[in-house]
């Protein structure tokens, strides 16, 4: 049984490593968690580019609008809205701040539910885990519902996707964020199913933490978008 002997010696070898850092894991960090952070770092540059494109194009839009460029004026499908834009010198008249504030609040609240779901998973409290996962998913869906409502309202008010650079930039930025939220909701629902099948136990709390990291990141991006796009004229 040389074979067995070799296994045994490898056992000892392996345990020795476990003592320092966990085998083969030079920093002893979880691979998945590190990978998720790297991914989120990459997403920072992605949303950074989208937000800055939006800001540049919105400014260009207003400059041209105030300069009376006829093509740009014709790009908004609502002469009254154009007049309001010009009178205010900003795109503020379009926003419905109370409504967006409410949906921002809902997304913030979903982040709280997400950490509570993680906490419950760590503690092996599966009832609360399911409650909080479901709540997070529902709040996220509410946010998406709000965004769909907002898009249809803006569209009806004359801001089309293909009419103006402002419309293109606004819908692309917020739509991209919406797609990220939707992806998060799908992950949450999948987690909920795993949990109901008894496959999301305390030893897998990291899975919940990873989805949570993604979810909070999406929330953080909305914190930026809410202030930069909606509140600052």
């Amino acid at each position: 049984m040389t074979d067995l002997a070799e296994h045994v010696s490898e056992e000892a070898h392996g345990d020795h490593h476990d003592d320092d850092h966990g085998h083969h894991s030079s920093l002893g960090l979880s691979n998945m968690k590190l990978a998720m952070w790297l991914f989120l770092g990459s997403e920072c540059l992605l949303f950074g580019a989208l937000i800055s494109s939006y800001l540049i194009l919105k400014t260009r839009f207003l400059t041209e609008l105030l300069a009376g460029n006829p093509d740009v004026i014709a790009g908004i499908d609502n002469p009254e809205l154009v007049q309001e834009f010009i009178a205010e010198g900003s795109v503020e008249p379009l926003w419905d701040i109370p409504f967006t504030s409410l949906s921002s609040f809902i997304l913030l609240m979903s982040s709280l539910c997400m950490v509570l779901a993680h906490k419950a998973t760590e503690e092996g409290d599966y009832k609360n885990q399911r409650i909080w996962l479901a709540t997070t998913a529902i709040l996220g869906s509410t946010f998406i519902g709000g965004q769909i409502y907002e898009f249809t309202t803006f569209f009806a008010e004359g801001l089309t996707f293909d009419g103006s650079i402002f419309g293109s930039a606004f819908y692309t930025l917020t739509g991209f964020h919406g797609v990220h939220v939707t992806g998060g909701i799908i992950m949450l629902v999948s987690l909920l199913f795993l949990s109901l099948r008894g496959k999301l136990q305390a030893d897998r709390s990291e899975t919940v933490e990873l989805v949570g990291l993604y979810w909070h990141f999406v929330d953080v991006v909305w914190v930026l978008i809410f202030t930069i796009v909606y509140l600052i004229p």
Partner: protein, 122 residues
């Protein structure tokens, strides 16, 4: 815990690392109460932000406080909800923080320079 050395790299193979780590940061993670406190602060900040935008202020008086509040919210979510403040206390957990900090700093600097070259923005 059979074949520790032999067990190999697969997507989620670092069970040991993961378990150890779960023990490590178990104590380090914030309590439920802390989460609620942070949430309340975030909610208040959001309310203040919205209120501030209704005060009819212009220029820096409007923008600077909004940006400050935004940054505070950003760090609260990243630091507490995403455990960055707490992960730095586990061994080498700082790597997460450095990755995120490098990415945000880089994004800020690079895109700021882009703005600066579009003179209409500033």
């Amino acid at each position: 815990m059979t074949d520790a050395t032999i067990e190999h790299a697969e997507d989620m193979h670092d069970d040991h690392g993961h378990n150890d780590h779960a023990h490590d940061d178990h104590g380090a993670h914030p309590t439920e109460k802390q989460y609620w406190v942070v949430f309340v602060i975030l909610a208040i900040l959001t309310a203040v932000e919205v209120a501030w935008s209704y005060l009819g202020l212009h220029g820096a008086a409007l923008v600077v406080p909004l940006i400050v509040m935004m940054v505070v919210k950003f760090f609260l979510v990243a630091g507490v909800f995403m455990h960055l403040y707490f992960d730095t206390k586990i061994l080498h957990g700082r790597v997460f923080w450095w990755t995120f900090a490098a990415a945000t700093t880089l994004a800020l600097l690079v895109y700021f320079i882009v703005f600066a070259s579009f003179d209409q923005v500033f």
